[in-house]
């Protein structure tokens, strides 16, 4: 667990927001920072548990090797796939340019 002295910083909030593609105003950065600090403070209790001898549970179920046969199933018609598109060009989804 990171040292308590490394309290969540504004910079970290900005970084995390960017990673998550969440637009955020400077004022929001501060507000979320404080709220997240408070939440993280409570989460620090996680440290109390002695986890040295246990594995992580990534998959709660006992099932393994759940697979399907390689068989084609009917697809959605293209029009249906595109029906919810906020922006389209003919049979393509249209998005803003990739340029950074």
């Amino acid at each position: 667990m990171p040292e308590p002295e490394s309290e969540l910083s504004s910079r970290q909030v900005e970084h995390v927001a960017r990673l998550a593609r969440l637009g955020i105003t400077p004022e929001e950065v501060l507000r979320y920072r404080d709220q997240l600090r408070n939440i993280l403070h409570h989460i620090e209790a996680l440290n109390r548990a002695d986890t040295s001898k246990v594995p992580a549970t990534a998959h709660p179920l006992e099932e393994r090797n759940v697979m399907r046969e390689d068989r084609r199933e009917p697809c959605l018609p293209a029009e249906t796939a595109l029906a919810n598109a906020p922006s389209r060009d003919d049979s393509y989804f249209k998005v803003k340019a990739i340029q950074e």
Binding site: N65, R71, R72, L76, A78, A81, S91, K94, A97
Partner: protein, 483 residues
């Protein structure tokens, strides 16, 4: 180049992405034939990433990956799982790619190949399984476009990632590695090896280090190489570029560069504004895989003869030179064509010469694969047979072959060659007919008694005597006359 070689050691690692030839996608039942389908016609809630959709693993894709890993001499651990690789891009419908991170299906293998008669071995770090992304079309050039168009037909197609150790030491080795890898993938039936369509993709990591040093130099990633030739040229260019920078005391940036084939150089791709952090974590929607030893054994027993073994067999049982054997086995369709031709009766060496010589020349000029040619093994075998019997000259054979190759149906050209040598002259045919009649009294009697079948037999005998050169129709008429 020699100066570079003595000062620096070239270190190259290759990352190959190979689509798997399954019927349906990695996590849903949509068809994988994205190259021909209309845009967005092969999609469903799962591969579109609609809210509420869930993935289900395609068993054949897992088996294909294990098969590939076995062919590459990899270890197959008993436990494997999928992980989410999180990032944003318009061709990535879920905002994450289901891939494998720390527990891939296989690790620690190797691929052996020859370079100029010397045997080489390149380590394989891992072979893992993931899903492909959709395709982006840009309206106009990428740096000018106002918008991009997205087609999700390819999203979700199963993809293997084959990562090599940085064991390759030259562009030649890199090219040879990819050729050999491609052949193996073809042999085991998981991929056709088509680089142009993107079915098989290759990225390279190239760095230089002072000769004798153990530390690795700055690594540059090279992308956008769409052919063996491009791989070779790009790596050679990059080696040159890097050594110039280092030689003049400069520092290399650890970056990604794209190969520009038209301009024959690598171009720095603008470094991303934000450092990407993929935040890998185990895919909660998919239970992990227990890869039992029985399952692996079953898959192993289904492996076909691999290129290396096939090469050995061609050398030892058919007497081919190692060089010819290597070339022939570098492509599954080619070696199969060769073996079929030999099976039909052609001598191995002659067949090899034709395939590796004139045939390959014509194919390369057209950028075609041997199985796309109209000439089939039976045609080649018959042509060879004509040459061997002395019926046609070598020069004529070459002309004939070219004509066969260019035609939709090689048979007429072959027939024309046969006809040109055909015995149609009455005197010759007459002699043959007389010989047939003299040597086959019983059949002649049968025919006289009304058995049509007997005439066919007599014609057959006539063909035998003339070594196939008699004109069968004329012979038929002559025999009828005489009998």
């Amino acid at each position: 180049m020699t100066a570079i070689a003595t000062r620096y050691e070239v270190v190259v690692g290759l990352e190959v992405h190979a689509q798997i030839l399954t019927q349906s996608k990695m996590f849903c039942g949509c068809s994988t034939d994205y190259l021909t389908a209309p845009p967005n016609a092969n999609t469903c809630p799962v591969c579109l990433g609609l809210p509420g959709s869930l993935p289900v693993i395609n068993r054949r894709a897992v088996e294909a990956t294990i098969r590939t890993a076995l062919a590459l001499n990899c270890e197959i651990p008993e436990f494997s799982k999928f992980d989410r690789k999180n990032y944003f891009y318009p061709d990535l419908p879920k905002g994450y790619q289901i891939s494998q991170y720390d527990l891939p299906l296989s690790r620690h293998g190797y691929l052996e190949f020859d370079l100029k008669g010397e045997g080489k071995r390149c380590g394989i770090t891992r072979v893992h399984l993931e899903e492909d992304t959709g395709k982006l079309l840009h309206e106009g050039a990428i740096h000018e476009a106002q918008a991009s168009l997205v087609n999700f037909n390819r999203a979700g197609v199963p993809l293997m990632e084959i990562v090599s150790e940085p064991d390759l030491r030259s562009a030649d080795e890199a090219r040879e590695y990819v050729m050999r890898l491609r052949a193996i993938l073809q042999y085991i039936g998981v991929n056709h090896g088509d680089m142009e369509s993107g079915q098989l993709r290759c990225d390279a990591n190239v760095s230089l280090r002072p000769a004798g040093s153990a530390e690795l130099g700055t690594k540059v990633e090279i992308k956008n190489m769409n052919s063996f030739r491009a791989i070779h040229r790009a790596i050679e260019y990059e080696i040159e570029r890097q050594s110039e920078v280092l030689g003049s005391g400069g520092r290399l940036a650890q970056e990604t560069r794209g190969w520009n084939d038209a301009r024959a150089l690598t171009v720095s791709q603008r470094s991303k504004e934000f450092a990407e952090d993929y935040r890998y974590f185990p895919e909660p929607d998919l239970p992990p895989l227990d890869v039992s030893r029985e399952w692996v054994a079953e898959i192993r027993s289904g492996l076909p003869e691999l290129p290396a073994a096939r090469r050995e067999r061609l050398i030892t049982t058919l007497g081919l030179t190692p060089y010819d054997a290597s070339l022939l086995t570098s492509s599954k369709p080619m070696v199969e064509f060769f073996e079929e031709t030999v099976r039909l009766g052609a001598p191995a060496k002659t067949a090899a010469n034709w395939i590796l010589g004139d045939f390959s020349r014509l194919l390369n000029a057209d950028r075609k694969e041997i199985d796309q040619a109209s000439v089939k093994p039976v045609h080649l075998q018959q042509l060879i047979s004509l040459i061997d019997s002395g019926a046609i000259t070598g020069r004529m054979a070459k002309q004939t072959f070219e004509a066969m190759y260019r035609a939709l149906d090689p048979s007429p050209a072959l027939q024309a060659a046969r006809d040109s040598t055909q015995i149609s002259g009455d005197a010759d045919l007459d002699r043959i007919a007389e010989q047939v009649i003299a040597e086959n009294e019983k059949s002649v009697a049968d025919f006289k008694a009304g058995k049509e079948q007997a005439l066919k037999f007599l014609i057959g005998q006539g063909m035998k005597i003339s070594k196939g050169r008699a004109n069968p129709q004329r012979l038929d008429a002559l025999l009828r006359e005489k009998i």
